[in-house]
Symmetry: C2
Subunit: 234 residues, 2 copies
Amino acid sequence: MERQDMILNLHGESPSGANITVLNAEEAFLPTLFTLHTRFPKLRIILEHCTSAAAIEAVKTCGPTVAATLTAHHLFLTVDDWASDPFCFCKPVAKLPSDREALLRTAASGNPKFFLGTDSAPHPVAAKRGGSDGKGKTAAGVFTQPYATQLVLDALELGCEKGVLDAQQITPEILEGFLGGFGRAFYRSGGAGSERITLRKSDETIIDILSREGNSVEVVPFRRGQNTWSVSWV
Amino acid sequence: MERQDMILNLHGESPSGANITVLNAEEAFLPTLFTLHTRFPKLRIILEHCTSAAAIEAVKTCGPTVAATLTAHHLFLTVDDWASDPFCFCKPVAKLPSDREALLRTAASGNPKFFLGTDSAPHPVAAKRGGSDGKGKTAAGVFTQPYATQLVLDALELGCEKGVLDAQQITPEILEGFLGGFGRAFYRSGGAGSERITLRKSDETIIDILSREGNSVEVVPFRRGQNTWSVSWV
């Protein structure tokens, strides 16, 4: 892959075992990330949907060929959220409040090694609720797709309200970089082209459920019923 | 309560907050346990359904007026189990593999400060699956009641198989104490009376679902479909 200049996209978690659970599976994988990066320093690697302060620090420590994505939902969630709500359960699981704060600060920092990767997973309600008889496992994944960019702004706003972030330092350039530019630069996929989105503060509400006429599958979006920003495509 | 010689039964968790989640809520409560015990040294206190190595150590540190109960299900579970299975989700949540091992060793130790308290919670399937529309929170609780004593033996057996426990050291006296005698002694509720249970190794299987004729409520038992010991009452 290094010779072909391909990008290695990693879901970075070690399997559960004697001392590894969903809580430290990402941190336990970081030595493997370092090994890969040391052996293949020119290989571009993305640690996808990273969730922990430890992973953020690891990616910063690596050279410029290593980047990471953050999801919109991990900017909101901690373990308490998914403990009792399957619609907040995904892998890697959301970690501690200190980890969420590290993700928020990173998203707002303008560091081009970190950019949005939604990992949006439109599992049907039934799959989130143990299948047809309700007795199976909960499918892992959070559905954010229609609101991905808006949710990032919601999360940053909440971070400012709670004093984790300083609104003055979050410039349009940082937002544009996190939502698109930093990723394009890392992928070397050229300029922004002519397509644009505009995000507006309005009184839009996230829908309760997504369904399609003539199709019984229903999907519950993350933060259903909450206020959010509005997006328009130009 | 101390003057009246009443027992204080505690669900020992601090509320979630900036640095407290379901993962450390029990450990965060332990200073309060110490304060209560110091102020009221003769007050009998039971730290109910304790789930962490830290809580076990705290109860050992206190005088003989402080005891704790362990549930059958916490002898099996870690965070990985309840992450994707609502029928393994309860409060306090199951913690790390090292915590589970501490609970197993304690149950098998013969220390009379620790005894079985089932905390069995027969939530209907619908409540474990987000209510009538499947979009609400997951009710916290694990249903073990028909199998409580049998599950303890299953857990100890598993602990022996995995090398956590030494089968030679688990005597009938230890089992009888953990399942009944230690609790009766702490409650000062007198001798065992004439009622007895007999536990036998057989090929019994835990039922898939508990329901009652003419009643639509269904409850899923912990470890449904797994082999277990058999119990008979004499």
